[in-house]
Amino acid sequence: MTDIIIGILCTLGALTILIAAVGILRMPDFYLRLSVTVKAATLGGGLLLSAAAVYFTDEVSVTTKALAIIFFLILTGPVAAHLIGRTAYVIGTEQWKGTIRDDLTGMYHKDSTEPGSGENAEENGGHEVPPAS
């Protein structure tokens, strides 16, 4: 029974990471690559680590370490993804030609990397100057 669970967890984790690796090659632009990679890496790493946790149920120290690593993966992965994506947008990385909508265009204030919300548009007359890239 335990063997079956370990097998399922390991296979799913390896498949997820494989798909993320293929996704890096296949996706057409930077944001999509980032989008595919970060989540799949978190999920795949989490699945492999939980397989290790199930395998070492007798040794409590291994299980607690595995759980702690999963916790910190979940905590730190999105922050890294957010910062990388934001930096890419600020320095003006191009988007794929199939992109159908971009609400962030022109929302950055001049000489600043913090976008406005667009809720009080009258103070800047609607659209602001896009960042110098």
Binding site: P28, L32, V36, P78, H82, G85, R86, L104, S117
Partner: protein, 158 residues
Amino acid sequence: MAKQFLMNLLLAFIWVALTGALYYSNFLFGFGVGFFLMWVMNRGGTDDRYFTRVPKVIGFFLYFVYEMVKANIQVAYDVITPKYFMKPGIVKYPMNAKTDFEINMLSTVISLTPGTLIIDVSEDRKVLYIHVMYLRDKEQFIRQIKDGFERRLLEVIR
């Protein structure tokens, strides 16, 4: 709230000490027994927020896992088949979350679901800019996040 949670933890430890078996399953079972006991003894009590919140936390966790697996399958299908089905776009999402902690949790949860990625938060903290992979309709997407993740998350946190 915190007092009841600590009390529940203490009951779980007492259960583990009495049964003498330090396993996760036994600890969780003790936690469940303690929760049930406290719930029984609090019937008609004034402060019952803790007892509605614990099932909501479990429900939120299960919902999150379900959404994550669903979105992963969608993305994986797009990666391994030759044609692109995606319609990427950046959406402005007006959020209900107010404090820093709520915004942090909400953006973590949204970032962890495949296909959505937080690009930026506006400086007055009213709006999130989300990069979406499968954007069919903006209003529908916003409604989906509002009714799904944000409502459940705020119910758990507040």
